[in-house]
């Protein structure tokens, strides 16, 4: 069964690009244009990983992450942050809140896939 990914970003082109590439790599991709839409999707569906932008209207990445971690049903889902804020402070804040991985914009297909692979490899290892 294909892994299910939720891409949360207010930038349509980025969502499109991720969907194309992950689709090719065998993931099932769903999209959300902001944090609130994401929360709706999360209630409706189960996801294996979230790829989430930080700076978004209405509900930003931090808030999404916080809610995801607080909810027992979603608290174990790995979250990859996409951010243009490549400052150390932001990274620490993200990890503190429970982010699993970080990808700074702009990024390429291989960076994206590498990130996902790392997560799932780790998850696989932790299972054994």
């Amino acid at each position: 069964m294909n892994k299910k990914v939720l891409v949360i970003d207010d930038e349509e082109t980025i969502r499109k690009f991720i969907k194309i590439q992950l689709g090719k790599a065998g993931y099932e991709v769903k999209e959300a244009a902001d944090g609130e839409q994401a929360m709706v999707q999360l209630k409706r569906d189960r996801f294996d990983v979230l790829i989430c932008d930080i700076m978004m209207p209405r509900k930003n990445g931090w808030e999404v992450l916080k809610e995801v971690r607080l909810n027992p049903e979603t608290s174990e889902i790995p979250v990859i942050f996409l951010t243009a804020k490549n400052e150390d402070n932001d990274m620490f804040k993200g990890y503190e809140l429970g982010a699993t991985y970080y990808i700074t914009k702009p990024f390429t297909k291989s960076q994206l896939l590498f990130g996902l692979n790392t997560i799932f490899d780790r998850k696989k290892n932790s299972l054994y």
């Binding site: 082109t13 980025i14 499109k16 209207p57 390429t108």
Partner: protein, 643 residues
């Protein structure tokens, strides 16, 4: 005095001579020897003429005076003898003699003279045998009558003279009182050597010596040794000229100290002797006062000079009356060169007062005024204050100008604004990075996808995405350029606040992506304000950024309002954020006051807003309620007289 006596005696004698001559020449009795009578009259006249040449002093000499009276008694008696038989009233002439004698005011001598006269008359009467005639008794009675008359005269004269003495004594007392109680020291000196004859109490005070001691002293010894030579030459000059004055001699006091005095001396001649009246005026108090005045003047000058701001006092016609040392140093000039010149000539090398001169304002309004202006001659920026100096009636006497060099301050201020601006650009840059990175990610991603795609129409759709992203980046860069369009520091243009607000809002939106903030704009058409664009942009971006930051995506509403007031435009920036705690309200405009974490804010933003707004003569007010938001109200005057 003597002169007066002499005149009286001589005139009286003329009267006696005239009456005697008349009786001898035209009397009832026959003249025995007419030639002898004429000779007698001639001699008598001659004697009086001789008296004219006798020195006046002789007349106050009793011996001379009585010889004269006795001689006259003899002469008159001889005249009677010559007129042969005193049937006439010749004896009346004796009364003249007695009157003459009474002038001596000596009662005893008068009695002697009258005795002699009465006897002589008696002898004459007897020798002529008149006593034995039938009218003998009426002749004889004339002898005691002469005596009684003279006693009577003597009495009157003596009474008068006593009365006069009494009056003299009274007036002497009066003068003594004046003399003793005079505020000035008075010394009566006998002519050389400068022996002291009398002193008043003030002299005792001045010198510290008792009167008894002073009377033993030579006046020159009273003068302090260092002034003695001067005093001696002064006294010598007085002997020649009769009077004189000196300035400030020192008296040597008994206790070793000295008193400063002015001397004035006048010679008084009394008979043979001449005295000098010396008046001392004590200068100690006056000197002390003068010294105090000098000291207080020096003090004031020292204070005036010690102030490091440049102070000048101007007459109402812009003439420099006075300046302090700071001015001299600042303009590398001298007091002589500045005093009396017009200020605009001296300081600015101009022919007319400067346009923005605060002194002109003070001259017109009698109110303080101030201005910040550049003085190109000394290459400095000056903050100039002018204050009126008014007299009791409220009329303007002069203007005091205080000017402070704020060149360095101004430079630091500009630097601070610049550095805050740079910090702002830093925040902006990270916002911009985010904003550019989004479409850039799209471009890179879609380009990669295109490379892997074979289907031309799919590739085309990807390329459209890439193009869109590229155009967005181009928009951002354009916006950034307009924001960073750095207006020259001093350039000021009419600015539409509405436009600047829009532009600033766009920039802040780029930098702070708290996109859930709703922006409400209530812009009215407003007058333009002359200002530096960069500075006004800085004001608005600072305020809007703050507003965005405090609302931080919690359904915030930013309200921007503008409207025209009578002489100004009003800009309101309101948020519905957490508000400012009451205790911080008074500090928010202070430099380096911040509630943000280290690294997030410099604490200069609002301070710079404040400084820029006030620089344009504007005001900024803040209203805040904790939990419900903050409103900043800015007012910029549309018409400004001074910067």
């Amino acid at each position: 005095m003597e002169d007066h006596n002499k005149k009286r005696i001589i005139s009286l004698r003329w009267a006696v001579i005239i009456v005697t001559s008349y009786l001898i020449l035209f009397g009832k009795g026959k003249i025995a020897h007419i030639d002898l009578g004429q000779l007698f009259i001639l001699l008598y006249i001659l004697s009086n003429l001789l008296l004219i040449f006798v020195p006046p002093k002789w007349f106050s000499n009793l011996k001379f005076f009585y010889s004269l009276v006795l001689m006259d008694t003899g002469i008159v008696s001889f005249g009677m003898f010559l007129s042969e038989k005193v049937t006439t009233d010749f004896y009346l002439v004796f009364f003249f003699i007695l009157i003459l004698a009474s002038m001596s005011r000596n009662y005893k001598l008068l009695m002697v003279i009258s005795g002699v006269t009465a006897s002589l008359y008696g002898i004459l009467l007897y020798s002529w045998g008149l006593l034995e005639s039938e009218q003998g008794i009426s002749y004889a009675i004339r002898i005691p009558f002469i005596f009684i008359m003279s006693a009577f005269y003597g009495y009157i004269v003596q009474t008068f003279s006593k009365e006069k003495q009494k009056q003299l004594a009274i007036s002497e007392d009066k003068y003594r009182g004046l003399f003793e109680n005079a505020n000035d020291g008075i010394i009566i000196l006998r002519n050389s050597p400068w022996q002291i004859a009398d002193v008043n109490r003030e002299v005792e005070q001045l010198t510290g010596y008792k009167k008894g001691e002073l009377l033993q002293k030579d006046a020159v010894d009273l003068i302090a040794p260092r002034d003695k030579q001067e005093a001696l030459s002064f006294f010598e000059a007085v002997i020649k000229e009769g009077e004189g004055r000196t300035e400030a001699l020192s008296l040597a006091r008994k206790d070793g100290g000295s008193s400063e005095v002015d001397l004035s001396i006048k010679r008084i001649d009394l008979g043979d002797e001449s005295f000098f009246q010396v008046i001392f005026r004590d200068l100690s108090d006056q000197r002390k006062l003068e010294k105090k005045i000098r000291e207080s003047k020096r003090n004031l000058e020292a204070i005036f000079d010690s102030i490091r701001d440049q102070l000048s006092i101007w007459a109402p016609d812009y003439q420099i009356q006075r300046v302090n040392r700071a001015v001299i140093e600042k303009y590398h000039t001298t007091f002589e060169e500045l005093i009396g010149r017009k200020c605009y000539e001296a300081y600015y090398q101009r022919d007319l007062p400067c346009e923005k001169c605060p002194v002109t304002v003070t001259l017109e309004t009698k109110q303080p005024a101030s201005v910040v202006q550049k003085n190109p001659t000394i290459d400095s920026t000056l903050h100039i204050f002018s204050y009126p100096i008014l007299d009791d009636k409220g009329d303007l006497l002069s203007v005091i100008e205080c000017s402070r060099d704020v060149t360095e301050e101004q430079r630091l201020h500009e630097q601070l604004i610049q550095s805050e601006k740079l910090a702002g650009i830093g925040i902006l840059a990270s916002g911009v990075a985010h904003e550019i990175n989004n479409p850039l990610t799209g471009i890179i991603g879609m380009a990669e996808a295109s490379l892997e795609e074979e289907d031309i129409s799919t590739i085309k759709s990807y390329l459209t995405d890439i193009l869109n992203c590229g155009q967005r980046i181009s928009e951002i860069v354009k916006g950034l350029r307009s924001y960073c369009r750095v207006a020259k520091q001093e350039e000021q243009n009419p600015i539409d606040m509405n436009e600047v607000l829009e532009e600033s809002l766009k920039m802040v939106r780029l930098a702070v992506k708290t996109s859930s903030v709703e922006v409400v704009k209530k812009f009215q058409p407003i007058d333009k304000v002359v200002a530096n664009l960069g500075e006004i942009q800085q004001v608005f971006t600072n305020l809007i950024t703050n507003a965005f930051q405090v609302m931080d995506g919690k359904g915030g509403i930013l309200t921007l309002c503008t409207r025209s007031l009578r002489d100004s435009v009003e800009v309101k920036v309101s948020d519905n954020g957490m508000g400012i705690p009451q205790k911080h309200l008074s500090q928010i405009f202070d430099p380096f006051f911040t509630t943000k974490k280290t690294g997030e804010g410099t604490g200069l933003g609002l301070n710079i807003v404040y400084r820029i707004v006030t620089k344009y003569g504007g005001t900024i007010d803040v209203e805040s309620k904790e939990g419900s938001g903050t409103t900043f109200t800015l007012r910029f005057p549309t018409r400004r007289d001074e910067v």
